[in-house]
């Protein structure tokens, strides 16, 4: 890196944003940057941990066992993940605005350590903005890019959290001074005519509050009527429940409505079963009130009824080893199968549901049979179930 010698680089020759007095607002302050930095450190850590949990539930490593109870835990953690991400948007934009003059500082690097710190800001800033917009666009189901969202979002989270650790290390020593407001106050020509520092912070928090208020209702029912800008409304959808993958997109309509439909139970069983829809209706039916919780952050409770999975497993003489794989009729798709561990497969409320709110399932909700189980993301609640394999 070639850097001009400060002595030869007179400040008055610098132009545009490089001018020493280019950014005169008193809001470009260490005090604001420190407080927003702490808020973002907390919110990104919460998003990272809840995101890792959601990833581990869907792709469990051998050591990871996720219980089926409490039934609404995933609804809480994923709701927090998405809501915290949305609330972070103004925090991040405010933080970037506050420290923006540093982008143009001259010389660009004053020491090797300073250069390393600044280079580490690219994965931090790029990664943070990437995580927020990709996450939000995913909830809108808008994919203007070539990558598969969950994979890219997951790896971007590691890049960002690594860069955040570097950033915290670089800023830790200056944080206390920043929070105390001990810095020299930069000249602010406007004085009382502009937002003060506290008012600026309060406005950023107000923006977070507004975004939260108009979106949180997609998972938190009491705020449902305020969810003006949520991409989902809990009651909007067939039978009062939103849909993520409609039957038409999954190309299952013909198979799912075929009168010859059979549910097959295979694998590590004493006697494989092949059950028609009438066979299933003739078995003891059970009711459960369970939420569908989408990874995208919406959730809604519903009243399901159907056959307990554990009853069917017992009928077939299942010997569960690794788990139970539930397979959809859909010919392809990233989520056509779901593997349940022992805890979920044998939970009293884990149903092969035939009905919702006392009506047969709509085709978009997985007619004739769908899986509904406590404490799992919606993508694992397989619809149009055709086969159960005991592993």
């Amino acid at each position: 890196m070639s850097v001009s010698h400060p002595a030869r680089d007179s400040a008055r020759h610098r132009r545009g944003p490089f001018r020493p007095d280019a950014f005169r607002s008193g809001l470009h302050s260490e005090w604001i940057a420190s407080w927003l930095g702490i808020a973002l450190g907390v919110s990104f850590t919460v998003c990272f941990l809840t995101g890792l949990l959601s990833h581990a539930i869907q792709h469990p490593p051998a050591w990871f066992h996720y219980p089926s109870r409490p039934a609404g835990l995933y609804r809480l953690t994923q709701g927090v993940h998405v809501a915290t991400g949305i609330a972070s948007i103004p925090l991040l934009l405010g933080k970037l605005w506050t420290v923006y003059p540093k982008l143009w500082r001259w010389p660009p690097a004053e020491s090797v350590a300073h250069a390393i710190e600044r280079i580490s800001l690219l994965p931090l800033v790029g990664g943070s903005v990437f995580l927020l917009f990709s996450g939000v666009f995913n909830t809108f189901q808008w994919y203007p890019w070539a990558f598969f969202f969950p994979t890219a979002h997951f790896w971007a989270a590691w890049i960002t959290i690594g860069a955040l650790i570097v950033h915290v290390g670089a800023k830790a020593s200056g944080l206390r001074a920043g929070l105390s407001g001990a810095e020299q106050k930069p000249a602010d020509e406007s004085g009382a005519d502009s937002l003060g520092r506290r008012a600026f912070l309060r406005t950023i928090l107000a923006a977070s509050g507004v975004l939260t208020l108009v979106t949180l209702g997609q998972t938190f029912n009491p705020l449902g009527r305020l969810a003006l800008l949520a991409p989902r409304r809990p009651a909007a959808g067939p039978q009062g429940l939103p849909v993520n993958r409609p039957a038409r997109n999954a190309r299952v309509a013909a198979q799912a409505t075929d009168p010859e439909y059979r549910l097959r139970i295979e694998g590590n069983v004493g006697a494989p079963l092949s059950l028609s829809l009438d066979d299933l209706k003739a078995l003891p039916q059970h009711d459960a009130v369970l939420p569908i919780t989408c990874v995208e952050g919406w959730s809604e409770s519903a009243h399901w009824s159907g056959v307990r999975l554990r009853d069917i497993l017992a009928m077939a003489g299942a010997r569960i080893g690794e788990g139970v794989r539930i397979e959809s009729l859909e010919p392809r798709g990233n989520y056509r199968t779901s593997t349940l561990d022992l805890s979920h497969a044998t939970d009293r409320d884990t149903l092969l549901a035939l009905r919702i709110h006392d009506e047969p399932l709509a085709l978009d909700h997985g007619y004739p049979v769908r899986l509904i189980t406590p404490n799992l993301p919606g993508v694992m609640q397989t619809k149009w179930v055709g086969k159960v394999t005991v592993l």
Partner: protein
């Protein structure tokens, strides 16, 4: 050459570096390792592009708007308008795909079920009314204080 020594960077910085960069490396490895899904070219373009678009497009526009506002208005009105613009800008930055219907598909009407143009107008109206009330209240407080 730039100096190696810099008293502002203590051991905590180097510890953060030793902990953080391997995690960044893990993320980069993951993108390459799962390239069929993560599509490194697209991934990099959007991640680096995010920083570039913010720093060289969004920020200059915001700063220009700030300067224009500063030149055209004075006093308490300016403060309330700054605050209202900030919150409105955030709401629009979040909701522009909803306004444009990006991601909306006839096959699934439960995605983006609201009339977002109307709803954004309602939210913005609430923000500006709140800013106006705040302006009146602070003017009232200032008058009482000066008496």
């Amino acid at each position: 050459m730039i100096p190696v020594k810099d008293a502002r960077y203590g051991p905590v910085f180097w510890v953060g570096l030793v902990l953080g960069w391997p995690i960044i490396g893990f993320g980069v490895w993951g993108v390459i390792h799962t390239r069929a899904q993560a599509v490194p070219v697209s991934f990099t373009a959007w991640l680096v592009g995010a920083a570039i678009v913010h720093d060289f497009l969004v920020a200059p526009v915001v700063f220009s708007a700030g300067i224009a506002l500063r030149r055209s208005l004075k006093g308490r009105i300016r403060t309330s308008i700054q605050a209202a613009l900030l919150v409105s800008g955030v709401v629009l930055a979040y909701s522009f795909p909803l306004l444009l219907g990006y991601g909306r598909r006839p096959s699934n009407p439960s995605v983006q079920p609201n009339d977002y143009v109307v709803n954004v107008v309602v939210v913005l109206a609430a923000i500006w009314i709140a800013a106006f009330v705040w302006l009146l209240a602070s003017a009232h407080r200032a008058r009482r204080a000066s008496r």
